[in-house]
């Protein structure tokens, strides 16, 4: 399947540092794609290139196989991390203005906005000045303005910052809904919990280089460290001896009245089924679960290790 957005060998150099170093990423259509990386990794540089705010020094960016053109901008909705509104302007007026800049007609913008405002229960802010609103309220308006023109590609840079948990959930639901409606979404964040919740695929950038790319589940499996949690009820007599004879590393063994809880690490040669078989003689296997690394673990593991300055190739 052809990727919706194809970033090919993009390099961007600023005065004294390399922001992006030969980065290639394929972003599939109609997926939520997590663009991850520590601060200063080059995420914003990449997003600005996709938005044609800056141009790459070398490399190409293709949307549906087409090199970036001026009119692509109207197909993109971008919610930048550093975002704001004109403080002295009225909410409704300002939203219409921003929508018009994206190519909507005034009338169209107004109808759509009223619709969204109603859904977000903010219609009564229409005639208020932005400066009277709280930061969270302003963020809501910005979200609406970003998605209003039904862009094919949405880029959210830290969309949840400044929101309370209730609104975060509201926003997550809206983002998922947008995917259902066919949008391709790039989601840039440090919040790994929301990545696991929302993203289908991710790419991890560090110091201008892509160091990881793939589906979230595949990545977790690829980065598994073969640890398991296993709970056994009514253990047989002598379970201790059996356990110790097994070719596993016992990280933690907890024995309670009529059950034992095990935290085990195995060699990569041992499949989970084989391990499960080994557990059966111990008693009733009440639960057996492989502990896949969280995205947070993977992030720290990948970014933490080669944290040396560039030039270590």
């Amino acid at each position: 399947m052809q990727a919706y957005l194809s970033i090919q060998e993009v390099t961007k150099r600023y005065a004294n540092h390399l922001a992006l170093d030969d980065v290639s990423i394929e972003i599939p259509q109609n997926k939520i794609f997590g663009l991850l990386g520590p601060n200063g990794a080059g995420k914003t540089s990449l997003i600005r290139i996709i938005n044609q705010i800056t141009a790459p020094d070398s490399g190409k960016v293709l949307i549906k196989g087409q090199a970036l053109q001026a009119d692509h901008i109207t197909r993109i909705g971008y919610l930048p991390e550093e975002r704001g509104l004109y403080k002295k302007m009225k909410v409704g007026e300002q939203a219409i203005y921003l929508a018009q800049l994206k190519g909507l007609s005034k009338h169209e913008a107004k109808t759509k906005l009223k619709d969204w405002f109603e859904r977000f229960d903010i219609l009564n802010w229409w005639d208020r000045k932005v400066e009277e609103l709280s930061k969270g309220m302003q963020q809501k308006i910005q979200f609406v303005v970003t998605v209003l023109h039904k862009p094919e590609l949405l880029i959210f840079d830290e969309p949840f910052s400044g929101f309370d948990p209730i609104n975060v959930n509201l926003l997550k639901a809206e983002i998922l809904k947008l995917r259902e409606q066919g949008a391709t979404i790039i989601f840039s964040t440090h919040n790994m919990a929301s990545v696991e919740e929302l993203c289908d695929q991710i790419a991890l950038i560090n110091q201008g280089k892509k160091i990881l790319e793939g589906e979230v589940n595949a990545l977790k499996i690829a980065n598994r460290n073969y640890t398991y949690n296993c709970e056994i009820h009514y253990p047989v007599n002598g379970w201790n001896t059996i356990l110790e004879s097994l070719p596993v590393e016992l990280l933690n063994v907890k024995s309670e009245l009529s059950k034992i809880k095990l935290h085990i690490k195995t060699a990569s040669s041992l499949s989970s089924n084989e391990l499960l078989k080994m557990m059966l003689p111990l008693g009733e296997v009440a639960s057996f679960q492989e502990l896949l690394p969280s995205m947070n673990d993977i992030f720290i593991q990948k970014v933490g290790k080669p944290a040396k300055p560039a030039g270590d190739e």
């Binding site: 705010i53 109207t74 971008y78 704001g84 203005y97 800049l101």
Partner: protein
């Protein structure tokens, strides 16, 4: 293009609706009208309230020489100065003129006492009367009849007429041209600064509120910058036109109320720093007034207003682009100082030098400064009322147009990098690097 229009519209509408714009629009003409009207009012105020002046003349040279001119009542008294001083304090007399017996035989000293500030025209009247009298006495002493001198004095009625290439003749009146020229150049100077810094502040606001990131994903930085610059230019033009209309109507209404005859005098008093004695010596006759009228009629207002609009727009566009670049480079207004200085120097220089140029509007300094785009808007306005050869005007205008195209190009390069840079204030070296991105 369409987006520039949208941005322009927003800039224009939000600014025109601002309270400060509305206040300035009405305050400006009031101030300007006041500038013209106040001298008239002051002139009429002077006629109210007679002044009683006691004169103690120990020399006896000037008895009866101070005429009861202009509501000044001179009383020749022979009391002691001290008791008269008390009377001045008590308000019986407004002033006391004391001419002491001279040490030599010619009186050259006099003292005026008053419990209030002594009006300039009164003291100058006393001075001229005394010196005239002393002169007459001296002439008589050397055997010359003052009448001879008087008849020898001839007043020259000098009319300056400029012949243009077509052989047409225009009467010119230097004072009016000076006033018009300086007024135009000061106005352009202020307009460029006021509206240029509005561009700068607008950009800083967009930067600090971070809305620029949102907008820049829909429009090109150049479009955003141009939309803002052009929108504010229209605000400036609107204000200027409203000022002209409002000033005209305020002045018109005032003239209807106060009666027309005072008009020309007020114009000359308000417009130029003409002879102070004007109000004291009313015989500064009607022919002069008529002459002023004649000259005012001869002034080519379409050319002056037309070139004002051109040079305002040209100068504004040139400087607004630079102001935009400054605004994009910094995070707050306090940081602008360092970059404002080099940008404002040519403007300030132009204004300062304008005051010299009015004396020699065709000199080479005037010529060069009115050709160089950075000073031409301010300097050319001084020269235009005196008439500028069309060739020079064309060169100056063409250079101004290329000047603002250049600064716009230059500013756009700094702007597109600057608006996305937060944090520390850039140095000139960094700005230079941005140019090459």
């Amino acid at each position: 293009m369409n987006k520039i229009l949208l941005i322009l519209k927003r800039e224009y509408i939000t600014r025109v609706r601002k309270k400060s714009f509305i206040i300035m629009t009405f305050l400006g003409p009031l101030l300007m009208a006041a500038l013209m009207i106040v001298p008239v009012i002051l002139a009429t105020l002077q006629n109210i309230g007679d002044k009683n002046i006691a004169v103690v003349d120990e020399t006896n040279w000037f008895i009866g020489k101070f005429e009861q001119a202009d509501n000044l009542q001179f009383h020749y008294v022979f009391e002691s100065v001290d008791s008269l001083k008390q009377k001045v304090i008590d308000g019986q007399y407004d002033m006391l003129v004391y001419i002491p017996r001279p040490e030599l035989n010619i009186p050259v000293n006099a003292e005026v006492y008053s419990n209030r500030q002594i009006p300039l025209n009164v003291s100058s009247y006393i001075k001229t009367t005394m010196s005239k009298e002393v002169e007459t006495k001296k002439l008589l002493a050397s055997g010359i009849d003052p009448e001879v001198i008087k008849s020898a004095k001839t007043s020259i009625n000098l009319v300056t007429i400029r012949i243009d290439e077509d052989g047409g003749e225009t009467k010119s009146f230097t004072e009016i041209n000076v006033a018009l020229g300086l007024f135009g150049s000061i106005l352009i100077y202020f307009f460029i600064f006021i509206f240029g810094s509005q561009v700068m502040r607008g950009i800083i606001e967009e930067k600090t509120s971070r809305i620029v990131e949102v907008i820049i994903s829909s429009v090109r930085p150049f479009e955003l910058m141009m939309g803002k610059i052009l929108g504010i230019a229209l605000v400036g033009l609107t204000q200027f036109l409203l000022w002209i209309v409002l000033t005209g109507s305020i002045y018109g209404v005032f003239m209807l109320i106060y009666g027309v005859p005072e008009g020309p005098q007020a114009l000359s008093a308000g417009g130029s720093m003409m002879n102070q004695a004007n109000t004291v010596l009313p015989e500064m006759d009607n022919t002069a007034v008529l002459k002023v009228f004649e000259v005012v009629e001869a002034i080519n207002f379409p050319v002056i207003i037309g070139s004002f609009i051109f040079y305002f727009l040209g100068g504004y566009l040139l400087y607004a682009a630079l102001f935009a670049a400054i605004g994009s480079a910094v995070d707050n207004e306090a940081d602008t100082q360092q970059f404002m200085l080099p940008v404002s120097i040519p403007l300030i220089l132009g204004l300062v030098i304008s005051n010299f140029i009015v004396n020699n509007p065709e000199g080479s300094l005037a010529f060069w400064l009115s050709i160089i785009p950075f000073t031409s808007p301010v300097v050319m306005m001084v020269r235009i009322p005196f008439g500028v050869p069309y060739g020079e005007l064309v060169i100056s205008m063409a250079l101004l147009i290329s000047g603002f195209l250049f600064t716009t190009w230059f500013a756009a390069k700094i702007y597109r990098t600057g608006i996305l840079m937060y944090g520390k204030k850039p140095s000139y070296r960094e700005l230079w690097k941005w140019l090459k991105y």
